[in-house]
């Protein structure tokens, strides 16, 4: 069987599941139990924005307690006695807030926003495929993620409250209810993550298969948009890393419920085993949470600068290098854990090295802007913010990579500042960029530019007011995850900083209302978008907005890479991948399967 025939077969199979043009399946199959990758992407979007709101709300309660310890929270009276009697947050509830904020943000907001939303919506459209390789498995992936989220939320409503051992769930605290005071909540946490892991695995091998097998004729690896490259590499990380988490969490669940002692030292278990397993998953996870953001930002920066991405090959190589090095740095989370100190040196060197591909990416983004013709659209503003904030998050990482400095700043607010500069300043700004950029292709309308700009500036300023001073708290020795910092004399002088951070956090949270109104309002009233509102070269902009069921009326043929902006060959400053110039010859065969 020839390569193209094999590909053809898969295309037909996919097309059978993806409804054809003009054909309207019943409402339930079209919008709820849909196999259309675009609808699934939008479903993930709605779900993860909801969990972003949940995670943000939990953070506000934490910030109230940290800024104004022991005072009754305005509106806190609605919370039950077990959480905040009289509106005053209890320490046990605070530990649940810390835990669930991290858990929701990492697993149910940032990860599905990047992988679930953009992976689903963009991969088939950008490679010229009618749908995913396995549309029904794709649907299952979403409908497995939903109960996982519900189980996690349910933890708040069981006796003993939600999990309270941190999102990292260090054993033995997480494994022994008699010491954490939480039994069912911790079990719910485990079950939820096991279920979610199944969803992630189903999604990831679908992405991998789709990218390898279903690229349109002419879409060689060297012409793949960086968004697709980053999602492809991320999917490989997900496929390899999530089973490790699932395995570890199953062992933890057994310790909690069946009386095993994998992580309990009394009967020969080893607490550090949990940390090794968790971070062996956890550090690749960090890159799962940033690589797709880097891809999205690369595409938006090139488009906004009207210039080819600077150093395409190095950009791809650095994604691969980060993904590889990401597997051998997990020990840097454990420098102070009691792990053999000699290992600290090896993990320090691998950690230092991972700064190199990250630096290459930053410089290449600068190179992309250099001598460009920069348009300040809302997605572009967020993409630029990503670059400048990622620089801070990357540089602050050097401090904790240095083992001796880490002795002091480990488990302090310096780490909290660092991780939020990467996950909020990095990932979330890229998510805002991506949502506003592809919104027209999702809903057929543009989000409001004016409200988008207002949201951007308010977010950018208040975000920095929240997280930049956290470096100062960390330098002052302020520990993470403490309910009441005023208990310590050496932290009392830092309390005014905590107050400023809390007030800025409330402003940051409130600013997101603008985004919510813009997002929902534009769905119904936004300006109608043309097929290609950003004058982009990639394949998704050749179809109508919103993208129709089945995507492409005829299989597109690709003649060049996606970054041919300001090419001297044409008058206009962009040259779509599908435009056939007189000098172009059609590709000999489909690149898929090569």
């Amino acid at each position: 069987m020839t390569t193209s025939a094999r590909v053809g077969e898969q295309r037909i199979e996919a097309a059978v599941h993806a409804p054809a043009h003009g054909h309207h399946p019943p409402f339930l199959r079209r919008y709820i139990f849909s196999t259309d990758h675009k609808i699934i992407g939008i479903q993930f979007l709605v779900m993860s924005l909801f969990f972003l709101l949940v995670g943000g709300t939990l953070a506000m309660v934490m910030r109230w307690q940290l800024g104004f310890p022991g005072q009754a929270m305005p509106g806190g009276g609605v919370l039950p006695e077990t959480m905040a009697p009289g509106g005053v947050v209890l320490p046990e509830f605070y530990n649940s807030l810390v835990t669930m904020h991290g858990t929701f943000m990492v697993f149910f907001a940032i990860m599905p926003l990047l992988v679930g939303v953009f992976g689903n919506f963009l991969i088939p459209l950008k490679i010229g495929a009618p749908d995913m390789a396995f549309p029904r498995i794709n649907m299952a992936s979403f409908w497995i993620a939903v109960p996982a989220g519900l189980i996690m939320v349910a933890g708040f409503f069981v006796e003993g409250g939600a999990a309270a051992a941190g999102w990292t769930s260090y054993a033995p605290l997480s494994a022994s209810p008699e010491h954490s005071g939480v039994s069912l909540g911790q079990v719910f946490w485990c079950v939820s993550l096991i279920v979610l892991g199944l969803s992630s695995i189903l999604g990831s091998f679908n992405y991998i298969t789709t990218v390898i097998n279903m690229r349109a004729p002419g879409m060689t690896w060297g012409r793949l948009p960086l968004t697709v490259w980053s999602l492809f590499i991320t999917a490989i990380l997900v496929l390899l890393a999530i089973p490790i988490l699932s395995g570890a969490v199953i062992m933890l669940l057994f310790d909690q419920t069946l009386g095993t002692h994998f992580f309990l030292p009394g009967e020969g278990g080893q607490p550090l085993l949990w940390q090794h397993l968790f971070w062996f998953f956890g550090h690749p996870e960090v890159y799962i949470l940033i690589l797709p953001a880097m891809g999205i930002v690369s595409d938006i920066l090139a488009n906004g600068a009207r210039k080819p991405i600077f150093g395409y090959k190095m950009m791809v190589a650095s994604i691969i290098a980060i993904a590889f090095l990401g597997w051998i740095v997990w020990g840097h989370h454990m420098f102070q854990s009691g792990m053999n100190p000699t290992l600290g040196n090896s993990f320090m060197i691998s950690t230092m090295l991972i700064a190199v591909p990250s630096a290459i990416k930053v410089f290449n983004w600068l190179g992309t802007l250099w001598q460009g013709n920069i348009r300040f659209t809302v997605p572009m503003l967020h993409a630029i913010a990503f670059v400048s904030m990622f620089v801070i998050g990357g540089l602050s990482g050097v401090f904790m990579a240095s083992t001796p400095v880490d002795i002091y700043i480990h488990d302090t607010y310096f780490i909290v500042a660092h991780l939020h500069y990467v996950l909020f300043g990095g990932s979330l700004f890229a998510i805002f960029a991506g949502i506003s950029y592809w919104y027209p292709k999702m809903f057929g309308r543009l989000m409001s530019h004016r409200w988008g700009v207002a949201h951007f500036w308010l977010t950018f300023v208040t975000y920095n007011l929240v997280f930049f001073p956290m470096h100062a708290l960390g330098v002052g020795g302020h520990m993470r995850r403490i309910y009441d910092p005023t208990q310590y004399e050496f932290l009392q002088p830092l309390q005014p900083i905590n107050e400023v951070i809390s007030i800025a956090a409330f402003a940051l949270f409130t600013s997101q209302l603008i985004f919510a109104v813009n997002f929902i309002g534009s769905w119904f009233r936004g300006e109608r978008a043309g097929d290609n509102p950003w004058e982009d070269n990639s394949l998704e902009w050749t179809v109508s907005s919103p993208a129709p069921h089945g995507n492409f009326a005829t299989t597109p043929v690709v003649y060049r890479g996606p970054y041919e902006y300001s090419s001297p060959l044409v008058e206009q400053d962009f040259l779509p991948q599908t435009v056939k110039l007189s000098t172009d010859t059609p590709p000999a065969a489909s690149p898929a399967g090569d």
Partner: protein, 226 residues
Amino acid sequence: MGWILPAGASSYAGEIDWLYYLILVITGIAFVVVEAALLWFLFRYRARPGRKARYIHGSMKAEVIWTAVPAIVVVVIGILSSGVWNDIRGRDSVPPDALPIRVVAKQFEWNATYAGPDGQLGTGDDFTTRNQLHVPAGRPVVVMLEAEEVIHSFFIPAFRVKQDAVPGMTTPVWFEATTPGQYELACAELCGLGHYRMRGGVTVHAAPDYERWQTDRGSPTVASTP
């Protein structure tokens, strides 16, 4: 406030602080250069009608430079760091004459057991204090760190000491206090409900005072109190 570390009070605080400030300067320079270039490009190359961006796909020379420079810088930081790390935490870093103190962390208190006048742990003249750690100035101390039920972390900010206490393990961590006075001991690892108030005091005595304190404290009448 800001980027200045609080005063250090141990023999190796200076080494750690020096590395911290070195990294602060290097990353500070990188930060200013990159952000300034970014802002300049945004201003200089803002869209203007009738203008086209420069059609260029990259520059091998530039990319080699900005791969090599960060690589060299981080490797140098790594080498300097590993030297300090080996001094503080290396296999043979604990000074042989260090005074042993056994510290057991449990929810939510620190129990320190001292060797007493004979200088040996596990003998009859040992005595224990709760939430109060007493150490001499100018003499290395090695804390044999244990935890009873969950992980805690032994953190004395002024000494630049932090070491997790893991149940089932005994982890040695040493330091040499330099300045007599009162300091705070904090738990830095989430350990449950009372984590935020797992606070202890550290008293650094001048060497002769420490001997006197130990003799008083170690007398049988006092040792019998918990």
